[in-house]
Amino acid sequence: MGRQDVTLLIGGEAGQGLVTIAMILTKALVRSGYYIVVTQSYQSRIRGGHNTFAIRISPQEIIASRAAVDLLVALNAETIHLHQAEMSPENLILVDERFAPGHDHVLKVPFQEFASDRTVNVAYLGVLTQLLGLNDAVVFQALEDYFGAKKPEVTAANREVFAKAIQWADDQHLPDTVRLAPALSSQPRLMLNGNEAIALGAISAGLKFCAFYPMTPSTSIPLTLQAAADTMGLVVEQAEDEIAAINMAIGASYAGVPAMVATSGGGFALMVEGVSLAGMTETPVFIVVAQRPGPATGLPTRTEQGDLEFVLHAGHGEFPRAIFAPGTVEECFHLSRQALFLAEKYQTPIFLLTDQFLADSYRAVVPFDIDALDAVRVGSDPAAVPTPYRRYAFTESGVSPRLLPGLSEHLVICDSDEHTPDGHITEDLTVRQQMVDKRLRKEAGLRAEVIPPAYVGHVSPDLLLVTWGSNRGAVLEAAALLKAQGKKVAALCFSQVWPLVPGHFLDHLQSAREVVMVEGNALGQLARLIRRETGFYIPRHIRRYDGLPITPEYILEALASGAGAVR
């Protein structure tokens, strides 16, 4: 018995310990064998305001968050007021008894009876352990791990409060409204969010250098790298600005190590000349753009998919690139690796577009098969190149053997000016044209390695939902719900948005009776790109740009209300 699907939302002010409770609980859930999808929504402030941390939990695999809340943990009265309308029919609200709201399903807890202000988080965890039916030892261990090595008195005090909270909960004969069905798997899993997965994927591929300037929601990538730097042998440097960051990464890459930068729209705007430099000098560089709503400073801590066209066109002049847009945390890991491999192989900037929702969304991830995770081999064999070495030797593929300065007697000469094959500045206009052609020939290689969009569902559906990046879970779940209602439906999810290879998806678009594009922006940027590349016009759109992620409910409601018709 128990619930197969519970969405828990913890809400309160920044600084109230909301993230502490949520992180410990999430870890305990993952260790207990549950699947989770976390949605974090916070304001751009360190104290006060209203923040939420939602965890959808199930013993079955889940891929999307849900808008409806089953268990609301209200750290203040305002949270109840703000989220009452989102409550599902079978719900419960957990609140400190000091806020006395008039609501049917409220569980009021006398926290001050068994916890101080310092230990109230521990008390919340005790009550939640019982409400959800978790193993208290697992939760307490997660709590101990979270706080790290503490003085024995502190551990003892925490243990006492935790036990009292559990005892209190037992005495109340709590309702089993949100009690979870037992987990099915005991296989160890990792608790990872999208940004951590990007960082780990990069490390596994041999990343050695990252430069960054802090900008939400990208910062947890360099911070994850920095935490691993001493053990894994990485240099992670906070640059003086984003211009410096990308130029440092290019310098490190030129000297022979896989290198990356991570930023958000505004910071990326500053990097743009550097993108072009990487294209011209044919220097591998991996660029992560974690999107948040713009223009300008926009909504710093919210989500959006508004930078596809920007990243696609960033950098003056013409040069090849690839852009990944992972739809899951696992894809964040694998596409981060793929980006570093392609950057080295094609000696050009490779992008990964993520967003605040995916960046902060924790999931339970099956550990990666480490034996299969080879690292990028940097540079060519100095013994295998003809003398004199020419950094930009013309080749059929457009890719020239890349040597590393100082590691052989060959000289490695790169230039941001148009250059001769030996890397020196030139204004010979014939060479100019040959060099443009050489650089652009690399695009054929990149196209041959494009990851086709995932197609799931009926072969000739009445409705085809198309999307990219982090909406993948919401779209797949919406499609599954429609199918359960007897609809002929399919979903097409892009996790690489450039280059586009029409042969991978045009048939699907043409075989569906109706195609609906689902995007987290106001202009329908991928739909426009698909039209540009294939001529296929998608008339109907579901778009979201209020700073919140697209959910299955959002899609179903938009479809039912007929929203998103031609405009």
Partner: protein, 283 residues
């Protein structure tokens, strides 16, 4: 000492009589006397007339963007801190477009040698004011003369207690060679600001103008005395001091990294065992 001829001799795109023609051989000489064969040194340059200089000798070179040579050099040096890295560019590139990087590079103190061809003007873009142009300097872009106070790179570097701060003059070759050699040998960030006449666009600060004013600091000058260095760095006008103005001995940036003690990043393998351990933290 190596033979200077190994650095080659190339045709340049500079105007006849340009001060850059005096700097290029001095750089080659300093490399030869420092026993750095072409493959054992990496130049990073920006954009401008000065930034073309490393194209005219044999060495590794990354000729990047206008203003961005320092961050590229920082990345290159951190990736391989066994390879000497020389940054070479003009005053506009180094102190104007790249001003923020200049401040950060001094503070970071990565072991780089920065050679700035300071002609007090934008040469390549045909004669606009640069950050080091004197007040009142008239150009087509500043027809009423420069209103802004000149940027004093040496005073800024001394104020930030850079590891090595020197001034040289393109017209005094042996001294220039000595300054470059000392900068190469000094650990941490080393700046050599080189006064370089631009015969086409700076008709004020000519060879003669500099020659009449420049003097070499006496042997008795103590470059480790910071207050004196601050005063010396501000000396400009009738008399212009040449030499090592300030020296410091802060640990180079790269020496702080535990992971760089054994070998440079570029030679380090990726350990699957360590990665496995890292993943365990996320369980």
């Amino acid at each position: 000492m190596l033979d200077v001829s190994i650095y080659g001799n190339y045709e340049t795109a500079w105007c006849p009589g340009c001060g850059n023609f005096r700097i290029l051989p001095a750089v080659k000489k300093a490399l030869a006397e420092s026993n750095l064969a072409p493959h054992q040194v990496t130049f990073i340059s920006g954009i401008g007339q000065a930034a073309k200089a490393p194209h005219y000798l044999n060495a590794n070179l990354f000729n990047g963007l206008h203003g961005r040579s320092l961050p590229v050099a920082t990345g290159a040096r951190l990736a391989n801190h066994t390879q000497p890295v020389i940054v070479e560019s003009g005053d506009g590139c180094s102190y104007g477009e790249g001003g923020n990087h200049f401040l950060a590079a001094i503070r970071r103190n990565v072991d780089l040698t920065m050679l700035v061809h300071n002609n007090q003007v934008y040469g390549l873009t045909k004669g606009q004011a640069s950050p080091t142009s004197d007040e009142g300097f008239v150009t087509k872009a500043q027809p009423h003369g420069v209103f802004a106070m000149p940027f004093n790179p040496l005073a800024v570097a001394v104020a930030l207690q850079a590891n090595f701060v020197a001034r040289a003059f393109a017209g005094l070759e042996d001294h220039l060679v000595a300054m470059i050699k000392q900068a190469l040998a000094h650990p941490g960030f080393a700046l050599v600001d080189i006064l370089q006449p631009c015969v086409s666009f700076n008709k004020v600060n000519t060879f003669g103008w500099y020659k009449n004013r420049c003097y070499v600091l006496p042997d008795s000058y103590d470059p480790t005395d910071w207050p004196t260095a601050m005063v010396t760095a501000h000396e400009w006008g009738d008399r212009i001091p040449l030499g090592v103005i300030y020296k410091n001995n802060r640990l180079p940036f790269e020496a702080h990294f535990a992971c760089l003690q054994e070998m440079p990043l570029v030679r380090q393998p990726v350990s699957k065992a360590k990665f496995q351990e890292l993943l365990a933290h996320f369980q």
